[in-house]
Symmetry: C2
Subunit: 697 residues, 2 copies
């Protein structure tokens, strides 16, 4: 079993939405039902029609739990990044066929490979439900009680919508609760792999070039959505641009930015800088170091540990970049100034002050108390630091049978009825589980607990059970049957009684840790999250009142549109051009002596003479994106695909909390390079033709 | 400039000596003037003569600041580990000649390469000076005052001895202060490289096989000590054994174990487990991850970053192993039981209790206060986490001019007159300094400070100087002239005035941090170290009274003799034989697909048919060793070399705080494999002949 992952900034389940203070230049992750029409008209002379917007919306795809994609033919063909689909590609591989290393292409429908557990979601409709959610809250409620009431109201809205529309509903909190929208999705779960290039070209330059530019990656993959065993009919899809992107051209990106924290208070940023980021970097560094050892032990270990390594390296580089950004006093200084002016704005009006109170101050207080239990909370409840995949399954079962026995509105959010199908699909996923990798992860996880909490901590003692790390990991892996999906299902369907009686070693560990984990999660939600939600709602309202309506809500892993220009930038010592070429790819491989991670796959070495070396390979644009946007289509005003987003450059890492257009850029693969590669490197002419004509041969 | 390093357990400047509670089996790092003669006689039927002991003592060599070695010919020829000498080998290399990768052999004296800054020390004489040191202390002194008085007395003893003998004196604290010995060394500073194999065979299996067994490394290198431009005459040297080691044979190891902590209290071990080890592992993990990126960028970066990587990987594996040992409740349980019985022993006698007081309790109190400033102290004062080499030089100069202006007895120990020659040799070392590596280290160091202390900490703010990490590192490296040794010398010799006026950017940073660093070091020495020294002295005395004289003092990086047997052991799933063979080396390379770190150097691939594949390659023995023992000779009762220590196995990592003979072993290269390789792989027949005959061709 492998974990879900994205390159770019990954984002966590505990989202902390926010709003920007001022919107400048091409900043903005816009709601599709609230586009910056004036700006588009003024700066770019473009006025999208309602049909244009609906077409973009229904052509855009949410890929799994952390990526973006788009329909690129009327036959359910979906384009996303290789690194977004790499979980699936790895899960379809084994010791004999390594599609990550060697790539994959299905020349006919029959040869397309069915992926274990992935969910594609298309946003079909948006309805505003702010009043329905807020009606559940009365003025005399505590923040925690109000949050509970809103959760219950949202669950009710979702239940009603599901039976009314047959679509999958999700109430989305926008502007920190100033607005609630009901999003209705069509979902696809029969998804088949069509084409993936070799990782050597998809991630050419590896960790070293990750978040860098100039860049030369073919980070693209194709899957196909099926319905009833046939390719899905997708009337809304994005056509291929014959010309590709041009420098200075207006381009759009529609996708699912996961989380931004642009409204974060200074104290909150300092908490991230001094507590959260050091903690997660410590975990990632330990795991990366251990993974190098694990992978060096054998070619099979190298293969099964590959996805974990990419995931961890990417997170380490992203979070490390953010930490460095937050250590820069100049950057924090701008935040301090903005916060002071907002607080003065609040204090300047007595009525406003009475209504909003000292939201900054209350949040600062809650943040001050957080470090006393944050490490424990983080280690037990953050999905990025689970002990191992099998423990994650055990925990899902132990918690699942408890949560689903409660009324919908009283459950943790991921167990609400609307979210249960996704939860259960993940729980019963057929993704392969490698005992060796699990044992390695578990050892790493046990050491991590010990290092972070100390050997005498009750969590550590419960996790180790009086054994040394190696023996404990061996016994737990040997003593669990959770790799067997039918066994999982029996336990889950057997409910609380079955789980309580189980003698499975991993279930026993999850049972032992569950009371500690629940207490920490409850403490976090009650003492911090409810204060945070309330404070940011009020800060967001103050921002609204100060800056008017020309603002966009912070990212929430829901569909957004960003706009921008294909544009280079200046470094202190050089100009960085907007586009690279296929020629540049070969030159870089040559300059680096063809050593990994700059070793070209054989297919590319052989195809060199056939390729048009002047075709653009990658390009950059000023569009506002963040982790979760990986795989988003880049298209022109005619909604024609000119590329696909796969990264931001190093300057863009701070976009998490502050947009900056001077040197920060989104990075994409050009549509031309994709066609060139499909035709001349991979002999995938049928796929190239489908992209251009919409028809399957 | 590269840092000093050892494989095996490295040890820190702040040594915490201790005594074992009970001595069993082959346990013991024995003083040469206090050998376990009864045990040797009883178990092995062997009675070493005074001449035997003196011969061993004067044939043994302390190599630099962290390794061991031995004379192996009358012409100053010295054998040590490749990994002990790898600093020197790397410093003699450059972009054109990479002796780490390709190996080195000087067929004639003229071709031997002079090493930048290394010091070999041979222990010529031992005099007990306990009374002279203790005479300076009166009963009414506080622990801190008593420590100061002892430091002053030790400095005086050293000064007197230096002028009396012409040798280099060092007063050694043994048994936690129950005994002080004056060690008189002969030192060699003109040291030339004779032979080093390729790192690919010296460290075959790399990080993956480090601390593992069975093993197949040729971890050996030869240098030669010179005096007055000629090979030193070394009448005491160890002859080569024609037969090599045999299973079940009694073997001796003489060398310089750096530090053991076998007397450590339970509370002290918990401090190491919960505070110190997590901190250092966090630093190492971050650096290892960053080094992988640095080295991947170009072949030259790979070369200049190689030593750092080996150092960090080794430390990470060693400390990680110790942490895992301490997380094992069973192991800690034995410590708890021993401590309880010792405390009962103290309490059982009123007089003893009055004299010793509650040493355990006082140390526990001091340990409780330590975490409040330990991270800061560690990050500024531990030599393993210096910001970068150039900063280390700046700090040495800034502190050096201050310290040397004070009376000898009032200085930090490394600046005492007796230690100044070593300090100055290091300060003015001609080892190369690579600006790119320095910039990388500095960035890594600045991030480390920020992560560990938080962005608002005064140390972090002073270190960053209001800049972002990248810009700050660039400016500091560009703004310092400390790579120029003459410039260093001018500053150092110019004294406090020259340093105060310097506009060198790195000196300015060291000046800014110095008051903070001194305050932390003083706080550490006054609030913790003095209590610790006093407490362990009393605990050691109680141990003496409880267990009698059959104990050895904890390791102090002074010469010790250990004894043991060439012996295999049992793992749960297999028997581990005492010896491997050259055939096994080829088999392992084959089994691992000849991929790094299991790729044999070309010289070994070519030599295969010429070699006697049945010759033992590596072997294990029960001798008690620890970090610092790397390079120690292994010899038989006839003082003939049968091998050289280069590692302990994974079970031996806990030897730091508890000897265990069941599965823990020292690992050595067999003398036969060395001869076989010199003659048939490296065509180094003259060197092989010198080892066998003592004569230079």
């Amino acid at each position: 079993m492998t974990m879900s992952r994205t390159r770019l900034l990954v984002f966590s389940l505990t989202m902390m939405p926010a709003v920007v203070s001022t919107v400048s230049a091409d900043e903005g992750m816009w709601l599709l039902n609230q586009l910056p029409r004036e700006k588009l008209e003024e700066k770019y002379g473009f006025s999208p029609s309602a049909a244009w917007v609906e077409h973009v919306q229904r052509s855009s795809v949410r890929f799994g739990r952390s990526g973006s994609a788009s329909f690129v033919s009327p036959n359910g063909l979906v384009m996303t990044n290789h690194h977004v689909a790499s979980d699936l590609i790895a899960d379809l591989s084994d010791g004999q066929r390594d599609y990550i290393r060697d790539g994959f292409y299905a020349a006919t429908l029959e040869k397309e490979l069915k992926c274990p557990h992935v969910e594609l979601a298309v946003l079909m409709k948006i309805e505003e439900v702010t009043d329905r959610v807020n009606a559940s809250v009365s003025a005399d409620m505590s923040p925690a009680a109000a949050q509970d009431a809103r959760k219950a109201a949202m669950a009710k809205v979702e239940q009603e919508a599901k039976s009314r529309t047959g679509l999958e509903p999700e109430v989305v909190t926008l502007y920190q609760g100033a607005r609630y929208d009901l999003y209705l999705y069509k979902k696809y779960t029969d998804v088949r792999l069509v084409m993936a290039p070799e990782q050597g070209i998809a991630f050419f330059g590896g960790d070293l070039d990750n978040f860098e530019y100039p860049r030369f990656d073919l980070d693209v993959a194709f899957v196909r959505a099926y319905e009833n065993g046939r390719p899905a009919k997708t009337t809304d899809y994005l056509k291929w641009s014959p010309a590709g992107a041009k420098p200075n051209e207006l381009v759009f990106i529609s996708g699912h930015p996961g989380r931004t924290q642009r409204l974060n208070t200074v104290e909150h940023l300092c908490f991230l800088r001094d507590v959260h980021l050091p903690l997660i970097l410590d975990c990632y560094n330990q795991r990366e170091v251990a993974l190098h050892q694990f992978r060096a032990d054998s070619p099979e270990n190298a293969r099964i540990g590959n996805e974990d390594l990419l995931y961890v390296q990417n997170g380490r580089k992203a979070y490390g970049g953010i930490l460095r950004g937050l250590l820069d006093e100049a950057l924090l200084g701008r935040k301090i100034a903005a916060q002071q002016s907002l607080r003065r704005f609040i204090q300047a009006d007595e009525e406003r002050q009475a209504e909003l109170g000292d939201a900054h101050g209350r949040l600062a207080e809650a943040l001050k108390a957080l470090p006393s239990f944050y490490s424990e909370y983080f280690l037990l409840e953050n999905r990025r630091v689970q002990l191992c995949g099998l423990f994650d399954i055990a925990k899902k079962i132990v918690r699942g049978v408890e949560e689903t026995s409660r009324p919908d509105g009283e459950r943790y959010s991921e167990f609400r009825d609307a979210n249960l199908p996704s939860f259960e699909a993940a729980l019963f996923s057929e993704a392969p589980i490698y005992p060796e990798l699990e044992r390695f992860r578990l050892q790493d996880g046990l050491v991590r607990l010990g290092r972070a909490l100390g050997g005498g901590h009750p969590i550590v003692r419960a996790a180790l059970g009086g054994q040394d790390v190696g023996a404990r990991a061996n016994d737990l892996i040997a003593g669990t049957k959770l790799a067997d999906i039918a066994y999982r299902r029996r336990l889950y369907e057997g409910g609380k009684a079955a789980v309580a009686e189980s003698d499975d070693a991993m279930i026993a560990l999850a049972r032992a840790l569950e009371p500690l984990a629940r207490r920490l999660r409850d403490q976090y939600e009650e003492e911090f999250e409810s204060v945070e939600t309330d404070a940011y709602a009020k800060i967001a309202r103050a921002q609204f009142e100060m800056y008017g309506e020309s603002v966009y809500p912070d990212a929430t892993f829901t569909l957004r549109l960003s706009l921008g220009t294909v544009l280079g930038y200046e470094e202190p010592d050089r100009s960085v051009p907007a586009m690279t070429t296929i020629r540049g790819l070969y030159e870089r491989a040559e300059a680096k002596g063809h050593q990994p991670p700059f070793q070209l796959p054989t297919s590319w070495v052989r195809a060199r003479d056939r390729l048009d070396l002047d075709v653009p390979m990658n390009f950059i644009c000023t569009n506002d994106i963040i982790g979760g946007n990986s795989g988003s289509p880049i298209f022109n005003r005619g909604t024609e695909i000119v590329g696909i987003v796969f990264d931001g450059n190093i300057h863009g890492l701070v976009w998490d909390f502050q947009f900056d257009q001077q040197r920060a850029r989104a990075v994409g693969v050009s549509s031309g390079a994709i066609l060139e590669a499909l035709g001349k490197v991979y002999r995938a002419e049928p796929l190239a033709r489908e992209l251009q004509s919409g028809a399957i041969d």
